[in-house]
Each structure stands twice: as structure tokens, then as C-alpha cells.
């Protein structure tokens, strides 16, 4: 029964990926036949300031957004795993942003982040005068200040942790009750229960989600950067690797060069996964899991 999936996977994902990686060693403009250039594209990437900025932006995004998304999803899962009034609605609210199509989600945030007419800054201006906040400060300039724009993209990504939340919620609900009853008999504090019971038991799931998020983080920065900030503010404050690759390949017709950047992105992903996996193994060894 796996055959259709495998055929699709090989034909539509693995083969194109392999071809793209082979093109990393060619000069290819999407129109004329590729010509072999060896490592020239990779060498050129090292000297390309836009690529270096994109790479740094992607790494910073992953380092900040992935833990934030996991923390928020974990916090919500622990908060909402019990049956109580309004919990169902709260769970639905947590998952809802994930269900919104990406472009619509980007356009929604474009309105939310509007520096003058957007509801976020309107709210921050309540109590202030002449466009300032109640504390006399300028509200965040989401679309024109480099740091604020990077924060805006991270903020957007944080709210799409619905899938992570659902998995963690299921994992928490599956934990055995008797362990918690024993902890209660031992007069364990809430923090102790979290640190010594909940966290170790959920660690394998958390590790898996961290790996998945680290891989996905290189992709899900694309639409926000493309739709909301257009890779700016200038010069390249929110140009991530995915956007760099898209522009280079499809707008500037340097597909071979873009493929080389894709190769770097894949190598980075593999490196991130290996590092995380080693950390998890060390953690499991520590707890004898």
C-alpha cells in the first residue's frame, strides 16, 4: 500500500531534489542547457554579502523562533490538557492560525503590523499623545526598522505552532496518572513535578518536534518575508535563505547559483538535526531513559 506514496515521494520530491543538488555545480539559467562549473557557485556564495546576510538571518530566526514556538506550545499543552470550562475554545483558538492559508495569514499580519493604522500599534498608542505610547516611546516600527521587522516575522511564526501544540497536548494526556499520584504522595511541588516527571516523559516528543521545527524553520520564514516585509527593510533585514534562493533562481534566472544555496541550506539542516539528536541522546542517557 506504500507504493503510491513511494512513487510520489521519489518522483516528485527526491528526484527533483537530487537534480537540483546536481545543478548546484552548474551554471543554469532555467532556459539554456546547464554547463558544469564545479565548485564555482559554492566559492561565489562565500563572497556574496547578500547570501551571508541571508544565512545569518536564517540561523538567528531558527535559534529564536524554534525554542519560542516549542515553549509556547508546551505551555499551552500543559495549561489546556485538563477538562475545564472554555478549554475546548482555547484549544481551538491555539490551533486556528495554523488552519489559515499562508498567504492570507501574511496579508492579515500586514494589516496588523500597519505602522499607523494597524490594530497592534493603535493599541500600543492608547494613553499616549501624538502617536507615542503611554510611556512616551515610539511604537515598534514593524515594517521599517530592521530589528522590529525581524521580531515581527518571529511573532508571526510563533502563532502557527498549532500542530506542535496538538502533538504535545496528546503526549501530555497520554502520560500515566499513577506517576503524578505518586508525586503528590511525595509532596512534590509543581516545579518538581514538571522538572522530574512531565519533562523527562515528554522529552522524546519534544525532541522530535524540535528537530521537525528546526527543519521547517528554514521554510516557514519564506511567506512572511515575501508577503509582509519583502525581505526588508533595506537592505536585507528579513531576507532569509529561502527568499534568497527564490529570488536568485526565479527572478534573476540564476538557478544553478540558487541550487548551490539550497545545498548549503540542506547541509545546515542536517547539521542542526545531528546536533539536536546528540543533545537528546545525552539527555536521555542522563535520565537513564
Amino acid at each position: 500500500m506504500l507504493a503510491p506514496y513511494l512513487v510520489g515521494l521519489v518522483g516528485l520530491v527526491l528526484l527533483p531534489a537530487a537534480v537540483t543538488l546536481a545543478l548546484a555545480f552548474t551554471e543554469y539559467d532555467l532556459v539554456n542547457a546547464p554547463s558544469w562549473v564545479g565548485l564555482d557557485n559554492l566559492v561565489a556564495l562565500v563572497d556574496d554579502p547578500v547570501f551571508r546576510v541571508s544565512l545569518t538571518n536564517s540561523l538567528v530566526f531558527a535559534l529564536v523562533a524554534v525554542p519560542l514556538r516549542l515553549l509556547l506550545a508546551l505551555g499551552l499543552a500543559l495549561l489546556l490538557h485538563r477538562r475545564a470550562f472554555g478549554v475546548g475554545t482555547a484549544r481551538a483558538a491555539a490551533v486556528l492560525p495554523t488552519a489559515v492559508p499562508e498567504i492570507a495569514y501574511g496579508l492579515l499580519w500586514l494589516w496588523l503590523f500597519n505602522p499607523l493604522y494597524g490594530p497592534i500599534n493603535q493599541l500600543l498608542r492608547v494613553g499616549g499623545e501624538n502617536g507615542l505610547t503611554a510611556l512616551g516611546r515610539t511604537p515598534p516600527q514593524w515594517l521599517t526598522d530592521p530589528t522590529d521587522a525581524r521580531a515581527a516575522i518571529i511573532l508571526m511564526s510563533v502563532f502557527t505552532m498549532g500542530e506542535t501544540f496538538v502533538v504535545l497536548l496528546a503526549a501530555r494526556r497520554a502520560l500515566p496518572r499513577d506517576v503524578y499520584e505518586m508525586a503528590a504522595l511525595e509532596d512534590a511541588t509543581g516545579w518538581d513535578v514538571f522538572r522530574r516527571v512531565t519533562l523527562p516523559l515528554m522529552a522524546p516528543v519534544l525532541a522530535l518536534l524540535a528537530v521537525r521545527d528546526a527543519i521547517a524553520s528554514l521554510h516557514f520564514s519564506f511567506v512572511p518575508a515575501y508577503v509582509v516585509t519583502d525581505g526588508g527593510p533595506p537592505p536585507y533585514a528579513t531576507t532569509y535563505l529561502s527568499l534568497f534562493i527564490y529570488r536568485t533562481g526565479f527572478e534573476y534566472l540564476r538557478y544553478g547559483y540558487a541550487a548551490a544555496a539550497t545545498l548549503v541550506m540542506i547541509l545546515l539542516t542536517v547539521a542542526a538535526v545531528v546536533v539536536q539528536w546528540r543533545l537528546v541522546r545525552r539527555y536521555r542517557g542522563f535520565y537513564g531513559l
Partner: protein, 442 residues
């Protein structure tokens, strides 16, 4: 073979056949509609729909399908990927500044033979500056539909209200700055300086001028002052904004925000783009091409008109021209050519001119009531025609899209953030040299 295995195998074959079949099947279909790839604002797309409908009505049995891209970059990406996939659109509409990368890669079908054999098209009927802009390697690759240049759109009602003289032909850069200062007003209608720090009580409700910080906006003023933007217009290798004349023109442009505050801040532009700001009555003047006319014709709250660009030493404009190009790999070339002939001919240009979208590249149509008729604004439409003898084209180097993107970021920071002019000029030069070096020329 077990039933489940057989079913799985059948599904796999179906999946593969579907995946592979779509492209090849459509690529062999020569009887389908002629596909025309375009982008634009809703009003512009409506204009193209009017044209294709008129064609289908005039030539029963024909079928032209508009393929609508969301913006210029989307159009470039769609064109590139469709060419790579072996199923390009038959025709695409593109500005001369961006077609070079496709021309250099032999994506565009030369039209000289078809033009020579055409009864509907005589090259002498068209403005040479627009025709020349689409000549690559001595061949006519595309045929221009319009020959616009930059103009200053202004809110006549607002000028009358504040008693400020309207812009007129021959006005200078300093005249424009003075006018913009006089039109920058707060909500009580009092002249204010828009350079006040954020949080100041008196913020402009109306800004004097809207201008996009880009190389295509800088170019006409550098030329007007007697300078050049590149070292060699035919085969450029670098930008030459470091010359005293070009530097002065660039400084004056940056001063519009940094010294006089007559243009909106970057925050204000992000909140509401210049075209919307003008349409909403919050911008007294806007430098834009003919493209804005279709949008502005929906304005009902005030009267507006156009004036020529201000001058330094001599009147110079920058060419804005889009053309219909036929793809070399298109499957319906003859049908595509018949539509192209219609769109470019006097009949087609009259139709599209009536929508307000274009300054017709057809000389006869541009001087006819179809374009100059007083029934719809702008009243001074002739301004667009008067500037045609003075317009110059930007270089059509294949890497120009990258050059525009790189320079836009640097110029944006110069205008809004006030980056040091020396750094700006150095960055412009250093970051574009490799792009010029990689470029191919027609």
C-alpha cells in the same frame, strides 16, 4: 499478484501518468487559446480584458486567455518557470527595463519578418524611442504598446484651496521644492515642516510630494542637470552617480525628506502607499508614469491633472514603455501574432488608450481624441506627448532587474534614514559593478 499489490501498482502508474502527462499534453495542444501573461492593478487588468474581448468580438472564433501575475516579480518568475517547463505563454507584456534577461537567453521570438509581412503594422507609425528600446542585437524582439514618461500628478482642488500656483511646463527643481513646501499642511491647513521629530504635535495631514526612491526616478534629474547615470549607456560597466552633477541631483532628492520633509516618512509610506495617499487626498503631488491614470480616474472627491517634470538645465524624461513579446517556445505563434497585430494596430491602441492605461506608441492614436479627448482626466494629457521628444531610455542590460533591486534598497535608506551621501554613492557603485559585469547587452 495479490489484489492489494495490484491496486497499489495501478495507483502508482496512474499517479505517474498524471504527473507526467499534464505538461506534455498541453504543450502539444496548438488549438487552445492564445495565452497572454500580464500583471497590473485591477484597473489595468480590466483594460487588458477590454482589449482581448474586443479582439475576440472583432475576430470571431479567436480566443485569448489573460494569465494574470500578481506583480512584476511574479510575472518574471512565472515566465522563467514556464519557459523552463517547456510550456511558456504565447505572449507576455513586459517593460523594456526587464526584458533584457529573456532577450539575452533567446526566449523572445524576433518579429522583423512578421512585421515586414504585415499589412496592419508599419514601424514608421510608432514612436522610434519606444521601438528602439525593444531592439536587441539589431532585431525587433517586441512591439511597444505605450510610450509613457514620468509626470507630476497634482491635486488641483487642493492647490486652489490653498491658493498655491499650479505646476507648469518649464518649472525648475527649486520651484517644485517651494511648491511642495507650500502644500505640506497639517489638519488645520497650516503649512508645517514635515521634518519634526516623531511625537511632534504638528504632523502633516497633507504631504507636498510623493516620489519613489529608485534609480528610475533619479535618472531624469541627473540627465536634466547634464550628468549621466552610467559610464556607457550602450555597454554600461558602472553607475556614475559620483560625478558632481549626479551627486547634486541625488542630494537634492534626498533633501526632499531629510531637509524639507515634504515627502512622507517610510513609516507613512508603508502604512499607505503614495498612489493611495494621492487618491485619498493626502498628497498634493505625485511623480508617476501614465500607469497611475487608470487608478486615479476612479477619484471622485477632487479634480486632478498632470504637469511635466521640473528641470535643472534641460527638459529630460525617462522612458516608460511596455511591449508585447512573443516567446520562442510558444505553441500558437501565428494566432499570437494575429492578436499582437491587433493590439498594436491603430484599432487596438484606440481601445486600450480609451481605458486610460497607455500613452499609445502609435503616433496617430496618441494625437487623436482617443487619447487627448477632454472627456476624462487628465485635462493636460498632452503633457505626456510633449515630453516624448525628450525621453531617454535606461540601459537594457540583462541584469537590470537586480540592479534596480539593489539600488532601491540603498536609495530608500538614503531618503528615509538619511544615510551619508558618500556612503550611499560608494555602495551604489560597489554593489552594482558585479551586476553590470555579469550582464549581457543587446
Amino acid at each position: 499478484m495479490r489484489p492489494k499489490t495490484l491496486l497499489a501498482l495501478l495507483l502508482s502508474v496512474t499517479l505517474l501518468a498524471t504527473a507526467c502527462g499534464t505538461g506534455s499534453g498541453s504543450s502539444k495542444d496548438e488549438s487552445g487559446p492564445v495565452q497572454l501573461l500580464v500583471f497590473g492593478a485591477p484597473e489595468e487588468l480590466a483594460a487588458y480584458r477590454t482589449l482581448t474581448e474586443a479582439y475576440e468580438k472583432a475576430r470571431p472564433g479567436t480566443d485569448v486567455q489573460l494569465v494574470e501575475a500578481s506583480d512584476r516579480k511574479d510575472l518574471l518568475a512565472r515566465l522563467a518557470t514556464s519557459v523552463a517547463g517547456g510550456a511558456p505563454p504565447d505572449l507576455f507584456l513586459m517593460n523594456y527595463r526587464f526584458y533584457g534577461q529573456f532577450a539575452a537567453k533567446n526566449v523572445v521570438e524576433p518579429l522583423d519578418e512578421r512585421i515586414a509581412g504585415s499589412d496592419a503594422i508599419d514601424p514608421a507609425d510608432y514612436y522610434p524611442v519606444a521601438m528602439d528600446a525593444f531592439t536587441w542585437g539589431g532585431k525587433q524582439l517586441c512591439l511597444p504598446q505605450n510610450v509613457s514618461s514620468l509626470a507630476v500628478y497634482y491635486n488641483r482642488t487642493l492647490f486652489t484651496k490653498y491658493g498655491v500656483p499650479e505646476p507648469k511646463a518649464g518649472w525648475t527643481w527649486n520651484d517644485m521644492v517651494g511648491t511642495a513646501i507650500a502644500m505640506t499642511r497639517d489638519s488645520r491647513g497650516v503649512v508645517v515642516k514635515g521634518t519634526e521629530s516623531e511625537g511632534a504635535a504638528a504632523r502633516p495631514a497633507v504631504h507636498g510630494l510623493g516620489i519613489e526612491p529608485s534609480i528610475i526616478r533619479v535618472a531624469p534629474f541627473v540627465w536634466s542637470a547634464g550628468g549621466e547615470i552610467v559610464d556607457n549607456p550602450d555597454k554600461p560597466t558602472r553607475l556614475t552617480l559620483d560625478t558632481p552633477v549626479a551627486r547634486e541631483a541625488l542630494k537634492n532628492l534626498v533633501d526632499l525628506r531629510q531637509a524639507y520633509g515634504v515627502v512622507p516618512t517610510d513609516e507613512e509610506v508603508e502604512a499607505e502607499d503614495d498612489e493611495s495617499r494621492f487618491a485619498n487626498g493626502r498628497l498634493a503631488m505625485l511623480m508617476s508614469s501614465r500607469r497611475s491614470t487608470t487608478t486615479f480616474r476612479s477619484i471622485t472627491d477632487f479634480e486632478w491633472d498632470v504637469a511635466p517634470l521640473p528641470v535643472y538645465q534641460k527638459q529630460v524624461g525617462v522612458l516608460h514603455s511596455d511591449a508585447y513579446c512573443m516567446t520562442r517556445g510558444g505553441k500558437r505563434k501565428d494566432a499570437a501574432w494575429r492578436f499582437l497585430e491587433f493590439a498594436i494596430s491603430e484599432e487596438g491602441q484606440r481601445i486600450i488608450a480609451a481605458t486610460g492605461r497607455t500613452v499609445p506608441s502609435h503616433i496617430g492614436v496618441s494625437q487623436s481624441p482617443a487619447f487627448l479627448g477632454p472627456s476624462q482626466p487628465p485635462r493636460s494629457a498632452k503633457v505626456f506627448l510633449d515630453t516624448i521628444p525628450t525621453v531617454r531610455a535606461l540601459p537594457t542590460v540583462s541584469t537590470w532587474p537586480e540592479i534596480e533591486d539593489v539600488t532601491a534598497g540603498i536609495l530608500e535608506n538614503a531618503l528615509y534614514r538619511g544615510d551619508k551621501l558618500d556612503d550611499v554613492i560608494r555602495d551604489l557603485d560597489q554593489q552594482t559593478r558585479p551586476l553590470f559585469a555579469r550582464g549581457e547587452h543587446g
